[in-house]
């Protein structure tokens, strides 16, 4: 084993892993993050904690991870290259690991253009592939990116994102291959609504045997309303929401749309369980964390293994 992390152990056991996410509050409100995390306790193996998601200032992922860790849960430290240079990133990785946080997700992050500080400087000192490589070298070589030796190197279980729906599609398997080459242990994908396209991407992944080199978690986001479905299709870059799905959501009365959204998510999980190479599910219920237990339960992903954490 490369790390002591719960996620690595779950994957090694052959069980499907389950993660979810918590967006930290837009204020110094410890109770908010604790409340959200508690809803997930016992239903997921680990909880992603976003890092200034959609380029809006929030409580730091690191600080929120510490609160979650204190609940006896396993946080996944998300970190974007947008806001920090390599010194700051490595400093936070040391700090997080010293607090017992041993899983992270390495991202480039949404562009500031989309957030509440469009006037901010973009850092992007390194990109997400180089970021993965840096964390891997910190762990496996015990070296900082600059080359110096680390005292007690952080043993992070390293995640990265993949978006099978962005363009150019033909490059998306190759992009995954680069992240694997850099040292990614697990992948969490963009929310999957176009299952056919995802399966086509997975065909390409299996053709190259990449599914044996990395643990791929399928991203699932339940839709609350048909409005949300339309918004995601039109406004969120790199999101692929098929028209049939929008029709299906629109076809049920407003008060039943949330239930329909949950049903769609559960059906997606059931279908994706059969896809060779899918090793787990990452359920991102945006500001709807209370629905995660129901989705996990109805999708047959309970009980979560207790012996690893």
């Amino acid at each position: 084993m490369k790390t002591e992390s719960v996620l690595e152990k779950v994957f090694a056991s052959g069980e499907l892993a389950v993660t979810s996410e918590c967006g930290p509050p837009r204020g110094a409100l410890a109770e908010k993050i604790i409340e959200k995390a508690k809803m997930l306790q016992g239903y997921v193996d680990a909880v992603n904690v976003t890092d200034n998601q959609t380029a809006m200032v929030r409580m730091s992922s690191f600080a929120a991870c510490v609160f979650i860790k204190q609940l006896g849960m396993d946080p996944i430290l998300q970190m974007v290259t947008r806001d920090r240079n390599r010194l700051a990133m490595q400093a936070d990785i040391l700090g997080a690991y010293a607090h017992g946080i041993d899983i992270m997700l390495c991202l480039s992050g949404d562009h500031p253009h989309f957030g509440d500080h469009p006037m901010a400087a973009n850092v992007h000192d390194i990109d997400s592939v180089q970021f993965v490589q840096m964390v891997r070298d910190m762990r496996d070589k015990g070296r900082f990116q600059g080359g110096d030796e680390i005292l007690n190197p952080p043993k992070m279980y390293i995640g990265a994102a993949a978006n099978p729906f962005a363009d150019p599609f033909e490059l998306r398997v190759a992009r995954l291959a680069k992240k694997i080459k850099a040292g990614t242990d697990f992948i969490q994908t963009q929310c999957i609504y176009n299952l056919d396209k995802f399966e086509k991407w997975m065909d390409g992944v299996r053709d190259r045997g990449l599914h044996e080199k990395v643990n791929i978690m399928a991203g699932i986001t339940p839709m609350k309303t048909v409005g949300m479905a339309r918004y995601m299709k039109k406004r969120v870059p790199g999101m692929d929401v098929p028209d049939e799905l929008i029709k299906r959501m629109a076809g049920v009365p407003k008060e039943k749309q949330a239930d329909e959204g949950i049903k769609i998510s559960i059906e997606a999980i059931e279908r994706l369980k059969e896809v060779e190479g899918v090793k787990g599910f990452h359920i991102m219920a945006i500001e709807w964390e209370q629905k995660v237990p129901e989705i996990v339960e109805r999708a047959g992903l309970l009980p979560r293994p207790k012996e690893f954490s």
Binding site: H111, H113, D125, S128, Q133, A162, A166, K181, P237
Partner: protein, 222 residues
């Protein structure tokens, strides 16, 4: 070329409000090509400033001069015969030219008339686009002749982010996704395999990371 755009008139008028006699200095290089600060633009701005002052019941005496290159001391020296008659200088060059004049004439206030924007190329008549950020360690050999540092909004060196849609950047549908362009070009060259070479983290010391830069050519230094 170095591209630039003229500042808003109100800002320029505000700078010059205390003065009656100025030198308005254009440059015959990049800013002439991008129609921001050549002889023609000097003439236009000169008239506009004088009219604006007249409207306020004042006069502004403008001496118009366009130098061959404002970033070169030997041309800036040509201002010597005019500088004493002027209370201030307004430069229509890029930031390099403005600073060259300020460095040469230490007791004379110098104001920029332009916002210097980027190193770029002319895409078509009246449209200029950024092409280079002067990082000091060119990667174009690795990326099919298309620069991801200058042309990707996140300066990604290892491929497109998850926001690339129909060949366009997530930041603005008018911006081409640099990595789509790179990929198309690698394919056209039969170099698709090269995409999978991971490009290592960049050493920014050759760029701004190392502080202000200088080139010393020993063979040319006298």
């Amino acid at each position: 070329m170095i591209t630039a755009e003229r500042k808003p008139m109100e800002e320029l008028i505000e700078c010059l409000r205390p003065y009656h006699r100025i030198l308005l200095v254009g440059c015959n290089e990049c800013v002439t090509v991008c129609s921001a600060g050549g002889r023609k633009e000097v003439g236009i701005l000169s008239s506009a400033l004088q009219m604006a002052f007249m409207k306020e019941g004042k006069t502004l005496d403008v001496k118009e001069i366009t130098l061959e290159r404002q970033c070169d001391p030997e041309y800036v020296e040509e201002l010597v015969t005019h500088i004493d008659q002027a209370e201030a200088v307004m430069s229509m060059a890029c930031g390099c030219g403005v600073q060259e004049i300020a460095g040469r004439f230490k007791s004379k206030p110098v104001f920029p008339a332009l916002n210097t924007t980027f190193m770029g190329a002319s895409e078509r008549q009246g449209v200029w686009v950024e092409r280079c950020q002067g990082c000091g360690e060119c990667v174009l050999a690795l990326t099919g002749g298309i620069c991801p540092i200058a042309r990707c909004a996140k300066q990604l060196l290892n491929g497109p982010c998850g926001g690339s849609t129909n060949g366009k950047c997530e930041v603005d549908p008018d911006i081409d996704c640099a990595w789509q362009l790179i990929w198309d070009r690698l394919k056209a060259l039969g170099l698709e395999d090269r995409y999978e070479d991971n490009i290592a983290a960049k050493d920014w010391r050759t760029g701004r990371g190392g502080g202000p830069r200088k080139i010393i050519r020993e063979d040319l230094v006298k």
